[in-house]
Amino acid sequence: MFWQQVVNAIWLGAVYSLFALGYTLIFGVLGILNLAHPSLYMWGAFIGLVCVTTLHLPIWLALPVAMLGSGILGILLDRIAFKPLRARHAPHLATLISSIGASIVLVNIAQGIFGAEVSRFPFDIFPVHVFNFGGVSVTLLQLTILGISLVIMVALRWLIMGTRQGQAMRAVAYNTVTAARLGIPVDQIIMQTFFIAGALAGAAGVLLGLAFNSISPFMGGPMNLKGLTVIVLGGLGNIEGAVIGGFILAFSEVMSVAYLSSDLRDAVSFVLLLIILLVRPNGLLGHSSTKRA
């Protein structure tokens, strides 16, 4: 049982990390806690679903289309809900509320179009294959999602640390005024950041929609609190932090169910969060006092 639980935890950790990446990216570059991120995740899942069911695209094509779609939604979100606030030098709390309003709108539009019911991807869209290694079961789908998640994580890290674009993003994150003086097209960089974060949310939406068969306008809600916990655990704005945070939360949840009591699962997670924050007030990999404009 122990090894199966370890596999369960690794799998769940990948799920949490994948969801949290876009969340933490926006915070890292712009210092915004974008509470509409879970809504982009939900829209990604629906775009993928529409691609598969009405356009009859194969899933490997639906995934990039959904990423593109939710990436564009990400840009729209920035143009409508965040850019005007940046222009007015609004306080951070204002952007938080604006993101809440935007997420209410996104969820309600989704409900208007797709209804409140829970739907799933068609059964034959992905081959069901269970591997059994000495009593431990893993599905092909789980392995694929784990693989795609790892690729996305590595690619994102490379993008930010190893490319000119990433350099520009980091400059914007450090200080927008200085970045502009250095000739970096700040507005364009912010737009790209929102596109990437939206696309990441969309990828998570399609993949987790495949894994958990519960696509609905409200699917973002339950993930939201987990996502927030994950990015804060790891250190806000930190890509590796989001990954580590995801695995810590997953192991805490799975192991408390396995060896303690499922009643206490969430209590254990939040007590753990509090303890980690008390020891490391900026998360595990966060830097002290990243004060922003």
Partner: protein, 411 residues
């Protein structure tokens, strides 16, 4: 200074509390408190009693039923199914001129959005509206516990169609429901399955932060104990969870005869898919209550749902004659099969119309009395009556998923 401002704060609070106490004392007595809102509570029915008094024993040309249901938010799933059921009933009632020539039934909807506060606000608005004859709703038991007392105080009949928790009709003699409570469904299911499958030890899984799934668990537990079936473990999950593999892995290691699940259909479907993926064999069946009974279960779980057993108030496979005609009409209207929520809501709307017709009045007290008199009404749920506690009486069924759809359980 800091201290003084704190002292001031504490003092002011104390004074405020004293004055609140005095304010409470000026009204006659604490027991008379409900009278405090009497203008709202007593005037509405009074206005309603006057109207029919003028029109003697005749119904007005337009009769208004109000439906308070969750049409937005995460529970809109149920609210919208219920709405379809009510709309279909209203359409048939009007087409058949059931209430008489030239008399039409109108439904007004108020959204409660899954929030007891919004349910209260909606109830208050409807109670103040002299046209409203009966309230259908609310969707959730939580909403009912907050809002139904208002209707009870105002003497407004309420017919719920989706509240299955205990303590709903106990709120008062104006509160009825067409939804069979879990306590009328589950013990029967356990008895039947124990006899058929020879259960001796089971694992239980339930959502512990949801009123519906927790109350289902309470009933299951009592029923299992009554039948002398051992509970190996009780695993819980939270509303909105999608990954259940940790709980299922634990259950797998205990090798139960069956897994008893109190969950909503969407959660149950994922539990089944993940259980089969983990290698829990199909001989270990899933047993559930009302929550399982939705076409969504097999739609989402696919072959993993095969063999799942559900106790229920109603199902599409029902052999009741009125059920077949209802399913046909529902399909013609919406192009899909109804679920239990739609059926119970459909029945609630019909029962309301029947009571109004029998009372030949839209007076709230008269309708209430007529509701208690309803016996052997031929509904899709079966021959329908209310018992002395205003809960429905009809036979529950035990169903099992066979070839992708629920059918009557044959051991």
């Amino acid at each position: 200074m800091k201290k003084t401002s704190l002292t001031v704060f504490v003092l002011l609070m104390l004074i405020s509390i004293l004055v609140t106490a005095c304010g409470g004392a000026t009204t006659p007595a604490p027991t008379a408190e409900p009278v405090g809102e009497a203008p709202a509570a007593t005037e509405a029915p009074a206005a309603a009693t006057e109207a029919p008094a003028v029109a003697a024993s005749n119904l007005p040309a337009e009769i208004t039923l109000a439906a308070v249901h969750d049409l937005s938010g995460a529970t809109a799933l149920y609210g919208t199914a219920i709405q379809k059921g009510i709309d279909l009933a209203a359409k048939q009632i009007n087409e058949q001129k059931f209430l008489g020539e030239g008399i039409t039934l109108k439904i007004i909807y108020e959204d409660a959005a899954g929030d007891p506060k919004q349910a209260i606000a909606a109830y208050e608005k409807l109670i103040a509206n002299p046209d409203v004859a009966v309230i259908l709703g609310p969707t959730l038991s939580n909403e009912a516990k907050s809002a139904d007392p208002l209707a009870q105080e105002a003497g407004m009949p309420v017919i719920a169609s989706s509240n299955t928790a205990s303590g709903i009709t106990e709120i008062g003699d104006f509160i009825f429901r067409t939804s069979l409570p879990e306590s009328a469904v589950i013990p029967n299911t356990i008895k039947v399955t124990k006899a058929a499958l020879g259960l001796t030890k089971v694992a239980v899984m339930y959502g512990n932060d949801d009123a519906f799934t927790q109350s289902g668990y309470d009933v299951f537990k009592a029923a299992l104990e009554a039948e002398g079936i051992e509970i190996l473990t009780e695993e819980t999950f939270a509303k909105g969870d999608t990954d259940f593999s940790a709980q299922l892995t634990k259950i797998q290691s205990l090798a139960p005869d069956a897994i008893v699940v109190s969950a909503l259909a969407e959660e149950a479907a994922n539990i089944m898919v993940q259980a089969r993926t983990l290698g829990i064999p199909e001989t270990i069946r899933f047993i559930g209550g009302n929550g399982f009974n939705s076409p969504k279960l097999a739609e989402i779980a696919g072959t993993a749902a095969e063999g799942a057993i559900s106790g229920a108030a109603w199902n599409v496979a029902s052999t009741v004659p009125a059920s077949a005609t209802f399913v046909e009409a529902f399909n013609a209207e919406y192009g899909a099969n109804p679920d239990q929520f739609a059926t119970q809501a459909y029945t609630a709307a019909w029962v309301a119309a029947l009571a109004i017709k029998n009372a030949d009045s839209v007076d709230h007290a008269a309708i209430r009395d007529a509701l208690t008199q309803i016996t052997d009404f031929e509904s899709p749920l079966g021959m329908f009556s209310f018992d002395a506690n205003r809960d429905p009486i009809h036979e529950p069924v035990v169903l099992a998923v066979t070839n992708g759809a629920f059918d009557v359980f044959k051991p």
